[in-house]
Symmetry: C2
């Protein structure tokens, strides 16, 4: 040959070329006793929004950000499953599945139904999204799960058995009931310990109220939710070596790949009990072309089983769970929750407890609004044509995703969630206005849809924007304020409406004048009003109101009352103007506010010092302060920055501790307010209502300055001298309070690297400390991160503005801004927290009952009347319930919702844990006949929590796991079966009971009244 | 609401949620008269090796280099095509398709057959690969196309109509006949001109010998072979906006996407004749998940046609071609070829004409060997069980790919091609040895498979490695050299065998002593022997031979002769030792070599100066020199480096022009050799054979040093004083010579930016210049880049070693090395070129006839005999043809190959162009009865070139395109139809005729003899 460079003469062994090499793979293996069984579980993890919006992920647009198209996943899955009847797949996120489903023709639908009914395609978890567990309220968890489960039940007759919360960043003690629950994100130290002791799979008992009755099998993945170590990623373009078994081609590698698989299995078996292990074959947005995975898994199963050392099978978490159950083992017990989550010594995922606090508040507001709106939709009768609450329900469900309300999505995706909430709210608002009009109008008919009364609502009341209140009272018109109470008990509260005139009178529905108070609106509030109305509505907000008009209201349970605001220049009982007193600090060292039992006494520095309640005789000193943490920039030797996920403080800066904070005090008959400009970007208003024995603190924080190059994480502190012994309590998703001990974990030994971030916990309802004599409780208006970093102290992370990405994928700094005319500045946060000090053992009543009122604020609807004719044509006051009835203080009506088929979803919750309150933790009863006095219940079925199966059937099927160690002590109180003739529902502590009710045709002319 | 940051209140118009939005797309459009028709042509371009090997591309391994898996493409294509009967796809590369096909089960095969027979899946181009056109010999083009077409015909009964050479880097005037031919890589200046004049679509008349009879419609794509500008890439994870037409989702964009499509269509229509344009919807390795493309194309076709401005249809190049033809237009004429290709002013793709010169030589050697081996396979009878030539045929087919023999693949891929050739050679060698043994053994039977005579062959003869020649003659053994001639005419040649002894005698098959000559082996040759045998075979080469033994041989057409080399110490006629004379230059200013008609006279400087041929009386002065170009490193302001594709010289460095080159002269009865160590890494041997009237120059070049940081491109120069007027001639793929004029293009005006690289052309057979009196011709042993950069000069780029990648995707510098014991140094090239000066008009005979001998060297097989018994048991001399017959000098037997079904593929080529030689350009005849004197032809069918249809049928279907301008002048000479009774095949100039022959059972006992 001419070239010196000749061939590589290595002649490989090849089969005769040209021959067919079609290989039928044997994938039929089931579980084999006596062998190590590798459950190969094909799955995809499809975030319902993260780097792209949910719709972008679905259709596969915006791929320059992330190549991901869920339509590809599901489109390609069907032929792949049809190709081999042993192939299996689980699909999780119903928001995507539903989008896809409605795009399919009947042929595909029939095919998919067949795949689902035969178990080849299993819909697990089954909520609209894989909800977060730290920043999500339990009512939202239930709602979003119910929404997904309902679809699965209706379309496919299936009931998801398995919780598959594989990605959320830590896990709450509150879970929707399943046979088993799989996930992976737990603290790295916890995981390491569990690997050594083979305790990655446990029986989890989250709530002490339920004892073993709510035990669930919890499987924690050893590393992540991806294929095992050893290169088993088979997405199109993945790098892992494909199984090359064509003898006619080079690089035949069956032996190597089988060895890799067996090695991975043995390694995992080594840290797992029983001879069953699970390989999670998939990860984020994989199976864009499903065949690419199945082709290789077919081969692996075929050749691994031919090899014979272990047994590999196509499986699902259900099959895996059943295999675990059949092993009849006793499992280690796990109590409490899995917070906080750290994946590295300096990487505590506790920043997201607060990230995007405005979005978190928006979600919480909408959640409460959705609850109320569904009640009103039920009262009116659900409409097929008019506006419904459905879109809001859908938007809220999406917002529970673990990259939604968590604040860990990209900004444009956060905007998308907000847009959806806004659309949902707009529709629900229309429905609410219509329903209220129907309920108020005399003579309006059942399924009233076009009432004449027009109500409007004021979503932007918090920034003093409420167009209906701009009514010109001078022309004899008055403002009608209809106040709806979605709780099952009567409420007394104080409303606030911005007004222009200083000569205002308020009347109640019976024509009586109501005492009221005018409070000059702080310029801090007015400043944000103009800007944000323009920025978000694109319109000018019009003239600035001068006063907040505050007046007390009283509203019956599940009902409304009406108030009338008008101008009456000559009246003696015109609204009181507040007295105003400004202090620059030193001159008055003992300034006191509070017209009722509760009094606050301010010291010279302007931080209040003495809290005294004349009813409980509690007296306590404490301060209210602010500080910020400097967010680690990640530029030094340790690259871990503080970001959307991770709280990584690099120094603490107190705000105004040494100097005095000037304060302005507004006093009046209803409320006293203390206004303080803490610094140029923190404004605080502390309120003590005459009739209420807690402190309400409103804060306006931002724009957080970053011109010093530092990201900042702003926290409010409540500092007392209570001896709290490192201990504090935070709620789990709004339910069970869990005891937290600083720098300590109850079930494993922690090595402390992050003494601040590592002690943060999610707060959805509240946080409290106690010293044996008293309890200091703080309740919040949204989910938030909180801690007690020092004894006697509570802190709440209010706002975070950061300049660096923390390297967990979102690839954006959490630096929220608001833009107007192309000028952007940092986001301003407005919100409230509530504080109360109770005698030891008494705090729970306020936390639980008032906590529910924070969740479900009074719903205001505004109208106008000309002269005094409203009462002639309208019902001014209403309760759906028997006028003499009210739900127990310990029970909340979580759901009252008419379904498409006319049946009604009803859900009650006991608000107290076992032993939490000496009286209120008792068994409680709801008398349905009095809840619905004017309706006859035709049929009522108790169901599982997500309302997709009868409770009795569920209980029968429920797996009862054996636990190592002594049996659970203490008696668990649960409500007994409901007697259909009595229609009384009992609820034990923390119990939630769900029913599907069919009402018979309305008894009276009007369906409801 | 709590947070100031409220929703984005933009409420978009949405359909009612929850409704099904299944949309059936209307994709049924055909061509619509009076509208602009956009032919949407879904395709993938799958390189049969480039960055990964062909097998890696097929199975999708090595994805870290490039995410590409052809199995995905074909697997996903089938369900996608089944989903909508209007969807269409073309598939091109049969190497991939065949790999896939043999993996399929019968169900899939049946489905695919249906898709193909209905035209929904069209196999176009149809060769095993999309062959290169610059560095590929026409015989290889034909073979690889035949191989692909055969499969398509046999499995599917289909005949590809369309040439689809979309990626090769320039286009040869030699093409396999199709109705139309589509591609995109032409010079950017040419393209710009053609866009202005709407001449991207032309009728191409590549060969002047054929005139209009071989006219083909050629469509040049306006930009590339990808979707049109405007973001229409729909691969999984591609960035282009998908068509979002679900009204329930955000980002609905149907109007925008329709507008984008229409705009792209109108822009293309603006540079295209007729109202048909083609959108090439695909690119390299796309359709990994085919549905992702079809889903979007379905929507585009549906909505674009709904829009109505233009008509979009699923189409194929066949449908498009028919539409163009139906338009009945006259098209502009294009003659000659499309070389060289530049995509930028400084980016001439003329480097790859030489890149990987060793691989190019290996391919060429194997090509000639394959031709011979198939003859011997036919003679023996094709075996189902034993070794065959099939693997070599397959390996050669792959090697014709436009990233294979081109040298533009990654090193590991080049190794893969070499490995395949090596395996193929090893098998073919076995077959050849067996066949020769069968042919030689007396009494061996038809379909002889296990003869006793063992032959071996010496592939590494060029590096002096030939184990059989190490026979120890001292023990009475002698070396049997069987010499096979695959040409149809008798040959006289000089063999060279390395030997150890200086006392050697050679006998011919009739026992006559043959004159022979011993030439000491140059140390340059021995040095590379040791190293490369170790590097490539992994074994030590053993003792070093001392001499080349040269002796003349004479071999009958399609037959062999046998020679015997032995030691005969006492014989008078022992082999002559060469006389040796060494010069240091100056002392002898008129050194002359040459024992026959041709003499070379060397001047003092060692470059020879006078060529004189006593037969032709030609006398001419010229020099033989070397130089190198410095490869541009791309680091300056212009990033274009010289690399595997692109020749971008940055300065010329002459090698040893001023100083004298010492020379050593070996003289003897057979050959005179002049040895010159040009510099430390170039060794040159110039040979003048007594019986031959041309000069043979062997060069050993390398390792090219790069320690100065420069890549180098080494060229040999032949510098004469001929006045060649900027003009030179290079062959097209070994066929038509095309006139080249420096800095000029015959059909468009060139702006010269690269006066060297822009004048390089591919040389497969040879290059020549002429001055009216004489022709200076140089023939090559592989494809190579060549030019005439100055008048009277010819240069050949012999070797390229570069340090930078040239940015065309391969992402490796072309820096070939050879490694031994982990020590790597630059690749050494060994090769030959041949030079002759003829009287004007006489050069073609040598170029054509000797050119064919270079392509088909004598095949040597070695055996041993003990004593002189060979002749007793063996037939020493053989010709398959009638002993008195020989093919005309103008005709070569291109193919003689037994097919699986026992029929025989027969292909003859006329080697001369019309008018090229006064005698030899005439119509030539082949008398088949004398070619096969011992066989009876039962049936003979003339076919198309690729043997997949009867020629008559093809001629009938062939589209006759109209051409603008006057009709083609001159009479075209073509052979007439063959009379089956006469069995005489006529061939006009450049004509190639292909036949399928069925021989009747052998006439004599032995099938062949």
């Amino acid at each position: 040959m001419g070239p010196v460079r000749l061939a590589l003469l290595a002649v490989v062994a090849l089969a005769a070329a040209g021959e067919a090499v079609y290989i039928p793979y044997n994938t039929s293996a089931g579980v084999v006793a006596g062998k190590l069984n590798v459950h190969v579980v094909p799955h995809t993890h499809d975030d319902v929004g993260w780097l792209k919006t949910v719709d972008q992920y679905y259709v596969g647009s915006n791929n320059s950000i992330q190549g991901a198209c869920v339509q590809n996943v599901l489109d390609s899955l069907i032929p792949a499953l049809l190709k081999d009847e042993n192939r299996k797949f689980i699909y999780v996120e119903q928001a995507f599945f539903q989008r896809w489903w409605r795009n399919q023709n009947d042929m595909i639908k029939d095919t998919v139904k067949g795949l689902i009914s035969s178990g080849r395609l299993e819909l697990i978890n089954g909520g609209m999204c894989m909800h977060d567990e730290a920043t999500v309220h339990y009512i939202d968890m239930i709602d979003q799960t119910t929404l997904g489960h309902k679809f699965i039940k209706e379309e496919f007759g299936q009931i998801p058995r398995i919780g598959w919360q594989i990605d959320p960043f830590g896990h709450s003690a509150v879970q929707v009931g399943f046979d088993a629950f799989y996930f992976f994100r737990i603290d790295y130290q916890d995981r390491d310990t569990r690997k050594e002791t083979k305790e990655l799979e446990v029986v989890w008992r989250g709530s002490k109220s339920f004892g073993s009755s709510a035990d669930i099998f919890a499987g924690i993945f050893p590393k992540n939710y991806e294929p095992p170590p050893g290169d088993f990623y088979f997405e199109v373009d993945d790098d892992s070596p494909v199984v090359q078994d064509d003898p006619l081609l080079f690089d035949y590698n069956v032996e190597e790949r089988v060895n890799d698989f067996v090695a991975a299995a043995l390694a995992q078996a080594n840290i797992t009990r029983t001879n069953h292990i699970m390989f999670t074959m998939g990860t984020d947005f994989k199976y864009q072309y499903a065949e690419s995975w199945f082709r290789n898994m077919d081969k692996l199963i075929h050749y691994v089983n031919k090899d014979g050392r272990i047994n590999a099978l196509y499986s699902t978490p259900s099959i895996y769970t059943d295999a675990k159950y059949a092993a009849n083992e006793q499992w280690p017990l796990k109590t409490n929750d899995f917070f906080p989550y750290a994946d590295n010594p300096n990487a505590y995922w506790t920043g997201y407890f607060t990230s995007r606090p405005a979005l978190k508040r928006y979600v919480r507001m909408m959640s409460g609004y959705y609850l109320a709106a569904r009640q009103l939709e039920f009262f009116k009768g659900k409409s097929k044509s008019g506006p419904t609450t459905d879109y809001l329900g859908d938007a809220l469900a999406l917002a529970q995703h673990h990259d939604a309300v968590t604040g860990t999505e990209k900004q444009h995706v956060a905007n998308d969630y907000a847009k959806r909430l806004s659309i949902g709210y707009t529709r629900a608002q229309e429905l609410v206005s219509t329903s209220l009009a129907c309920l108020t109008e005399l003579g309006s008919k059942s399924h009233c849809s076009s009432p004449t009364t027009k109500f409007s609502q004021c979503l932007l009341l918090n920034i003093t924007y409420c167009p209906p209140s701009q009514t010109d009272f001078s022309k004899g018109k008055s403002l009608v304020v209809l106040v709806y109470n979605s709780l099952g008990w009567k409420r007394e509260d104080v409303l606030r409406v911005p007004v222009f005139s200083d000569s205002i009178v308020v009347h109640d529905s019976e024509g009586r004048e109501v005492e009221s108070q005018l409070l000059p609106i702080a310029s801090a509030s007015l400043n944000i009003r103009d800007k944000h109305v323009k920025a978000y509505l694109g319109t000018s907000p019009g003239a600035k109101p001068k006063f907040w008009l505050a007046f007390p209201v009283s509203v019956p349970p599940l009902g409304f009352n009406t108030y009338f605001v008008s101008s009456m220049k000559k009246s003696a009982s015109v609204s009181s103007k507040s007295t105003i007193y400004s202090s620059q600090g030193s001159e008055n060292s003992n300034l006191q506010v509070g017209q009722g039992n509760l009094k606050l006494q301010y010291n010279a520095a302007g931080a209040f010092s003495l809290y005294s309640d004349s009813r409980t005789l509690i007296e306590a000193n404490f301060e209210q302060k602010y500080k910020y943490y400097i967010g680690q920039d990640g530029n030094g030797s340790d690259p871990q920055a503080s970001g959307a996920y991770i709280f990584r403080p690099n120094g603490t800066v107190p705000i105004k501790t040494d100097s005095q904070v000037p304060l302005t005090v507004l006093r009046g008959p209803i409320v006293d307010e203390v206004h303080q400009q803490i610094n140029s970007w923190i404004y605080q208003i502390t309120r003590v209502y005459k009739g209420k024995d807690y402190v309400e603190t409103e804060f306006i924080v931002g724009p957080v300055p970053t011109d010093d190059g530092n990201g900042k994480e702003v926290a409010a502190e409540i500092v007392s001298n209570m001896a709290t012994n490192k201990t504090f309590y935070t709620d789990s998703s709004g339910r069970d309070f869990i005891k937290r001990i600083r720098d300590y974990r109850s079930e494993w030994k922690i090595e402390v690297h992050q003494p601040i971030a590592g002690n943060y916990y999610p707060v959805n309802l509240g946080i409290y400390v106690e010293d044996g004599n008293k309890e200091l409780s703080v309740l919040v208006d949204r989910s938030i991160g909180g801690s007690s970093i020092k004894d006697g102290q509570i802190e709440l992370m209010l706002h975070r503005r950061l300049l660096h990405d923390d390297g967990r994928g979102v690839a954006e700094a959490l630096n929220e801004t608001v833009c107007l005319d192309n000028q952007c500045e940092g986001l301003i946060i407005e919100g409230k927290y509530y504080l109360k000090i109770d005698p030891q053992g008494e705090g729970s009543r306020w936390r639980r009952t008032f906590g529910q009122e924070i969740y479900s604020p009074l719903l205001l609807a505004f109208s106008e009347q000309d002269g005094g004719n409203w009462a002639n044509s309208h019902i001014p006051k209403f309760s759906a319930m028997d006028p003499t009835y009210s739900l127990p203080d310990s029970v909340a009506l979580l759901t009252l919702q008419e379904l498409e088929d006319g049946s009604v979803l009803l859900r009650f919750a006991h608000l107290y844990e076992a032993g939490e309150h000496k009286d209120l933790s008792a068994l409680a009863s709801v008398d349905l006949k009095r809840v619905f006095p004017n309706k006859k219940i035709g049929k009522i079925i108790e169901t599982s929590l997500s309302a997709n199966q009868e409770r009795a059937a569920m209980e029968k099927k429920r797996l009862k796991w054996k636990v190592q160690g002594p049996p659970a002590d203490g008696k668990v109180v649960r409500g007994g079966p409901m007697d259909p003739s009595k229609l009384v529902i009992e609820l034990g502590p923390m119990e939630i009971r769900t029913f599907i009710v069919n009402f018979e045709r309305s008894i009276s002319g009007k369906q409801l009244l």
